[in-house]
Amino acid sequence: MGLSLACLVALFLLLPIVIVVPMSFSTAISFEFPPPGYSLGYYAKFFTSEEWLEPTLNSLVIALGATALTMLLVVPAAFGYVRYRFRGKALVNLLMMAPLIVPHVVSALAYYGFLGRARLTGTHLGVIVAHGVLAVPVAFLVISATLKGFDRNLERAAMSSGAGPLRTFFHVTLPVLRPGMLVGALFAFLSSFNEAVVVIFIGGRGAATLPKKMYESIRLESDPVIAVVSTLLVSAVVLGVLVSAFLRPRGANAA
């Protein structure tokens, strides 16, 4: 009974995602289910057309840049937040979570005004800045949790072994925290790679990412290449989650 209910829910959640997979191999000229025939035609189209490859590259560049920015902000912030006591700590936590609470459309509008004034709309840098900030909450949650589980006696043991602060950090602290950091970075990457709302506002022609291109394509032409992109994106996310699941237990052991 319980199991069949769970299966039903899983089916309900997964079906819309899974349904795009056969459609990506379709021969139909528009979206059609079930597909009248199967071919790799739309995959060939995706991998050869500049129109799709450029946003893919943009997405990768922006997601990597945003991940770097997020980590740059979050790692020192998490160390400060977890290891020190200071006034207004609860407020700082709330501020770190703000990008999660504020509706993306509101953030998007704010970025549009702010980045426009700085002449950064339609540039990679502009989107990297916006995505970098938007990914802060999820990365902060993961990394500060990892840091809370870190046994500080490990650092003391390293210091009494003769390692100064720098060597203690690079030989002990960082390697032990690495799995948690990687999971945080992965989440930041995915958050940027999948983000559509903000980028529609500020991406313009110059920094169109894959989700933006998909949105435009679906509105204007219903090109089945979208099914190809969706399939590839879902595969990438599944792969990412599997990788993070593989990293996590090791991280837990380490702590």
Binding site: D151, R156, M159, S160, S161, G162, G164, H171
Partner: protein, 359 residues
């Protein structure tokens, strides 16, 4: 005794008002095994952390062979530390864990492998060199931590409740093992524990802590038989402590508040002089006084037995005499006459007690 490691008037306060460690001074001899014993929150671990350099004293100095260590960073001291939770580096093998201090201290690379092998053999972990800490049992992990703390020939070894996480039989086995290794290496050792048995069996001297202050520093048997304060008498071993006053008119006489006059050792009586005293009588010194037997049992009481606790090798009787709680321990099996609720005559000789002058 020439001091090797000296703590001079060490004070540690976190908030500027309460002293977690309050004016502690100890001289530790080279090769000595000194134990800091006390309840949790008594300042023993904080003191240890200051010797290691993880905490800075608010006042006072720490000296090693006359050299001031107080302001030196932990990595500028030559002190090995073993933690209760082992604190092994999870991403390194046993071998790499033990080699870590050698690498950090620029030990010659060509002699590193031999030194690691030597110290792993000393702690009996030779075959485990290639394993990761998580593949080892608690006892084995503690041995790795010990090896890591000893491998670089530190001046002092500090151990913070190193056996606290182990079960009883393993703990006893590790006590013997630890003591053997300490003797073999001859290293000056400071050991923190709240377990009095551990302190009694392993130490050359015990430093008893209470509320940040040092109550007494003495060899284990001195601490047991001649506690300097009432706290030490109660904290270490089982005890009966009676409040009383020295009777100055009669040599060897003390008047107890609840039990009346009591005969004590005359020498001790003279040393105390006058005023209020606490009289400590260990339960194993209290004996059954069969009628007519043992005329030397000058201090006799009628004891009502409340509870009997059988340990197998001994019996503990908990009861009262004239409203005063009284505990006695009889070696061997439980005698027939002893039942809960029964009344027996018990007593002890003058000299079985220890007098603690109350300040």
């Amino acid at each position: 005794m020439t001091a090797y490691l000296s703590l001079r008037n060490i004070v540690k306060s976190y908030d500027g008002r309460v002293n977690a460690v309050d004016n502690v001074s100890i001289d530790i001899a080279k090769g000595e095994f000194l134990t800091f014993l006390g309840p949790s929150g008594s300042g023993k671990t904080t003191t240890l952390m200051m010797i290691a350099g993880f905490e800075a004293p608010s006042a006072g100095a720490i000296e090693l062979e006359g050299e001031d260590l107080t302001r030196r960073k932990p990595y500028e001291r030559n002190i090995g530390v073993v933690f209760q939770n082992y604190a092994l580096f999870p991403h390194m093998t046993v071998e790499r864990n033990v080699a870590f201090p050698l690498r950090m201290r620029r030990f010659p690379r060509n002699r590193e492998a031999a030194r690691v092998r030597e110290i792993l053999d000393l702690v009996g972990l030779g075959p485990f060199a290639g394993k990761h800490p998580r593949e080892l049992s608690g006892g084995q992990q503690q041995r790795v931590a010990l090896a890591r703390g000893l491998v670089f020939n530190p001046d002092v070894l500090l151990l913070d409740e190193p056996l606290g996480a182990l079960d009883k039989s393993l703990r006893e086995q590790m006590q013997v093992e630890l003591k053997r290794i300490q003797r073999e290496v001859g290293i000056t050792t400071v050991y923190v524990t709240h377990d009095q048995t551990e302190a009694m069996t392993m130490s050359d001297r015990i430093a008893v802590f209470s509320h940040g202050k040092l109550e007494q520093v003495a060899p284990p048997l001195d601490v047991y038989h001649r506690p300097r304060t009432r706290f030490v008498g109660e904290f270490i071993g089982d005890s009966n402590i009676f409040a009383g006053t020295v009777d100055e008119s009669q040599p060897g006489c003390v008047t107890l508040e609840a039990l009346g006059p009591m005969r004590v050792d005359v020498e001790a009586w003279r040393r105390v002089g006058k005023g209020a005293v606490d009289v400590l009588v260990r339960p194993e010194r209290v004996q059954l006084a069969a009628p007519g037997a043992e005329p030397a049992l000058l201090n006799r009481l009628v004891m009502e037995i409340g509870v009997i606790v059988n340990y197998g090798d001994s019996v503990l009787l908990i009861g009262s005499a004239r409203g005063q709680r009284l505990r006695m321990r009889i070696a061997g099996a439980q005698p027939d006459a002893i039942r809960e609720g029964a009344t027996v005559i018990v007593g002890w000789r003058p000299g079985d007690e220890h007098l603690i002058a109350r300040s």
